[in-house]
């Protein structure tokens, strides 16, 4: 029997000027105990549909029947919401109480469960998500992943049949994402039906079935293997497969017989074994930083939060690093390792407890140093920069910085236009709109343009692609890369190792207030064990390279770019066939 039975669901948002057709006829059937994923880019209608499953929205046309109950029938609403729990994207905005266990109790309290039983359910739910030891903590003291686990416990305490996850991992770091995914899988094993909406294709691979949404309709629904084997569907939906599947497609498209679409890297390796063998390796070119004279150097930097208080915490411990002009430096590290503090100090937003920050050779914390000069040199894009938009129009918001810096009207206009061009936003079309009307990806690019308008030589970005859909991520990374190639120094904090592997010249790894590694990406990501033990991920390509090597392919272990591994594999397989080296395509960096 189908536990979720949605037929031709239509839904629209009525705005002041226009009506947005969010769902144009969604049909979805999910069997009891299934684990299904819904993927699709922003605006495809995923979240709108998710809210139909527990009667937060009611279909304008068509019907949604959950566990035999029609959501349109008003008397079913509360029972449907109890049976189909929902976990939302933003971990902060779904917690009601000031103590973890009180928050978990919120649901059962609402449906009038007797106190003793609530206690029992709360303890049980916290045990399942492994948060028992945090039950008396305040929510804001928890990490993102922990908050989401509490949210899951809150749903579990209502004893639901179905749990709908609406992009629960979008705002989490890799560790938090892992925690949430593991929890979802475990609950599925215990018999719960799981609907998992995500932007991360790797997560969709874990599902029994994948639904692809596009323009408010389900355009495909099949096993992950079938979905990801189908390049047309992915292209139509604007989705990027994970690197190992992308590699599979690239090889396949050029006529290599690489078997059926692999779900895991291990499967890919098994397929590759079909045609293998090669002796020679080509040396990999290493990216060389461009040389310009603006440098940033920190020496013996220490920073302690709230010194001499019970909350005292050392955020930076004797950190020293020099970044040359034109470099693209990635900073990675576990949450709380000091990354954000370091960039705050470089940007002069925090004062070091001790040590020096030299920008262009000058100590920015000296009394006579002109702060305006620093603002000209160093631009900072914080996490979720779109949250800092405030003006009536896009133009005014981007012009805020230059105006504050006392730049003339004419020059400001040129800069606004130029920075919008750099972010690929149409000046004429967008400049008079309110920033709040734009889509998520556009808002972010407008916010970054607001920083670029100051024409800084150094651009610091804190998780610039977090929370964007795959298309948005790829687009923004391309733009950042372009800024780097134009000679700007880029310092980027990120959890996305693949982005750094493809673009950065250098990677700093931070752990417990110190920089523990500082090297070119291929070397840093070559030390996979150390990274993993620091709670960090390695790029997917590095994982593929390692496994391919283990399987006896003679490829270089330090490969981290998709293009490199593609070239090497082709080379080897061609050679295996013809017995001599075939076209030896090089990497074109």
């Amino acid at each position: 029997m189908n536990i979720i039975n949605a037929s031709d669901v239509k839904y629209s948002y009525v705005g002041e000027e226009k009506i947005t057709f969010a769902l144009t006829g969604v049909t979805m059937r999910v069997g009891k105990g299934e684990f299904v994923a819904i993927i699709g880019h922003n605006g495809s209608g995923k979240s709108t549909f998710a809210k139909h499953i527990n009667a937060l929205y009611l279909p304008e046309d068509g019907s949604v029947v959950v566990d035999g109950m029609d959501t349109a029938d008003e008397k079913n609403v509360w029972e449907i919401r109890r049976r189909a729990g929902m976990v939302f994207q933003n971990p902060d905005n779904q917690m009601v109480a000031t103590i973890v266990e009180e928050d978990v109790a919120f649901g059962p309290e609402n449906i009038g469960v007797p106190p003793k039983e609530i206690r029992q359910r709360v303890d049980e739910a916290l045990e399942i998500v492994d948060m028992t030891e945090y039950k008396e903590r305040a929510p804001h003291m928890l990490s993102g992943g922990q908050k989401q686990r509490v949210a899951i416990a809150g749903v579990l305490a209502m004893h639901p049949e179905i749990i709908v996850f609406d992009e629960p991992t979008a705002m989490l770091d890799p560790e938090g994402r892992g925690e949430v995914m593991e929890t979802a899988k475990m609950l599925n094993k215990q018999g719960k039906t799981i609907v998992f909406i995500t932007h991360y294709m790797v997560e969709a691979l874990e599902a029994d079935r994948v639904f692809v949404m596009m323009g408010g309709a389900m355009i495909a629904n099949a096993s992950p293997r079938e979905i990801f084997a189908n390049q047309d569907v992915l292209k139509e939906a604007g989705l990027m497969p994970p690197p190992h599947i992308e590699l599979y497609h690239r090889l396949k498209n050029e006529g290599y017989d690489v078997g059926k679409c692999p779900l895991t890297i291990d499967e890919l390796v098994r397929n590759l074994k079909i045609c293998r063998d090669s002796k020679k390796q080509k040396p990999l070119p290493q990216a060389k930083p461009k040389i310009s004279d603006m440098s940033i150097e920190v020496k013996g930097l220490n920073y302690t939060y709230m010194p001499n208080s019970p909350f005292e915490a050392v955020a930076l411990d004797d950190v020293g690093v020099k970044i040359d002009g034109g470099e693209f430096v990635g900073i990675i590290g576990h949450t709380g390792s000091g990354k954000t503090t370091l960039i705050g100090l470089i940007a002069g937003l925090l004062k070091p407890t001790s040590g020096k920050v030299l920008v262009d050779g000058k100590d920015i914390n000296e009394k006579k140093y002109d702060r305006k000069e620093l603002r000209r040199h160093v631009g900072v894009v914080f996490q979720y920069p779109e949250h800092q938009l405030f003006e009536e129009t896009v133009y005014k918001d981007i012009a805020f910085g230059p105006k504050k810096a006392g730049i003339s009207e004419e020059e400001t206009q040129r800069r606004v236009r130029h920075s919008m061009e750099l972010m690929e936003i149409d000046y004429e079309e967008i400049k008079d709109l309110s920033p709040f009307e734009l889509s998520g990806g556009q808002k972010r690019r407008v916010a970054i343009a607001g920083v670029l308008a100051l024409e800084p030589e150094v651009l610091i970005l804190d998780e610039p692609v977090a929370g964007l859909d795959p298309q948005g991520r790829a687009h923004l990374m391309k733009l950042i890369n372009h800024l780097s190639s134009e000679g700007k120094t880029i310092i980027m904090i990120t959890h996305s190792m693949d982005d750094l592997a493809e673009n950065a010249h250098r990677v700093l790894v931070m752990k417990q207030a110190k920089i523990i590694m500082d090297d070119v990406p291929s070397k840093v990501f070559g030390r996979a064990d150390e990274l993993t033990s620091s709670g960090l991920d390695v790029p997917c390509v590095a994982k593929i390279a390692a496994k391919v090597r283990e399987a006896g392919f003679e490829v270089e272990g330090s490969m981290i770019k998709l293009r490199d591994i593609e070239t090497q594999l082709k080379y080897m397989m061609d050679k295996a066939k013809s017995g001599k080296p075939a076209k030896a395509g090089g990497s074109d960096d």
């Binding site: 309290e109 909350f311 504050k404």
Partner: protein, 264 residues
């Protein structure tokens, strides 16, 4: 790190005073306030002082924290003292200078008022020091339950307070972030005259409001999806129950009142 800021002035602990039922504690504070006004003689004041010191000792709260609660009110205490000293006209004059006269009764009255104020503040400070904001809200909601009969929105008020307390740290953190982001774009929050400063707040306040509304929106969805439907038919996980210690503490306060009511 701004998120480590505590709300209110709760001093976590596990003493008897901490563990008294919040409902009882609220009632007892009111009773002690009554007692303070009942006292007329010096013996009475000493008795209350003894009681307050005993409570502080039992609560194991550092005396410094209690004193900190008095700090912002020193000015008012001194002002009442001075006004009462100089403008209490009747009685035996013990000193006079120009238009000022100090009478014995005036001085006595001023000291009495100042002592009362200090006692009042100490008693209420002790309440907030030993009771977490959640317990306080909870206690108030339950004590005010009868007001529901006159359609006073008791539950809604308590829910609002809880949500406010839940989001204060989150919003503080967000304020900090936005301030830094706008500072990096050249905004200044701490220079210029009043008008300039007020204007300077716009780049901070607009994003803060926008985000608060977005949060409210999302929170509403989350609450609804967890079957929240107002206070009707709601149960609570933690049921407040009176214990032995609650009755003992009530007896102590009752004893104090009886002692004072019989003329001390």
């Amino acid at each position: 790190m701004i998120k480590n800021v505590t709300i209110g002035q709760y001093f976590p602990g596990n003493s008897v005073v901490h563990r008294i039922d919040p409902r009882m504690k609220l009632i007892l504070v009111v009773a002690v306030i009554v007692a303070i006004f009942l006292a007329t003689s010096w013996i009475g004041y000493v008795a209350i002082l003894g009681f307050l010191l005993f409570t502080i000792l039992m609560s194991r709260v550092n005396l410094k924290f209690v004193a900190r609660g008095l700090k912002p009110l020193w000015f008012i205490i001194i002002l009442t003292f001075v006004l009462n000293t100089f403008f209490y006209a009747e009685g035996t004059i013990i000193a006079s200078w120009w238009i000022f006269k100090i009478s014995q009764e005036g001085l006595y009255n001023a000291i009495r008022l100042a002592v009362r104020l200090v006692y009042l503040i100490t008693a209420t400070t002790l309440l907030t020091l030993t009771t977490s904001p959640i317990a306080l809200t909870d206690g108030m909601e339950r004590l005010m339950k009868p007001l529901k009969l006159v359609r006073f929105p008791v539950h809604e008020l308590a829910m609002m307070m809880t949500i406010a307390m839940r989001f204060i740290p989150t919003l503080l953190e967000e304020t900090d972030k936005i301030m830094k982001a706008q500072t990096a774009r050249g905004a200044e929050f701490d220079s210029g005259n009043v008008l300039k400063r007020a204007k300077g707040m716009v780049p901070l306040l607009v994003p803060l409001f926008v985000s608060a509304f977005r949060r409210a929106d999302e929170l509403a969805f989350a609450m609804e999806s967890r079957c929240y439907n107002g206070g009707e038919g709601r149960t609570r996980m933690k049921v407040l129950k009176f214990h032995y210690r609650d009755f003992v503490s009530a007896a102590v306060v009752a004893g104090l009142i009886v002692f004072l009511a019989f003329g001390f």
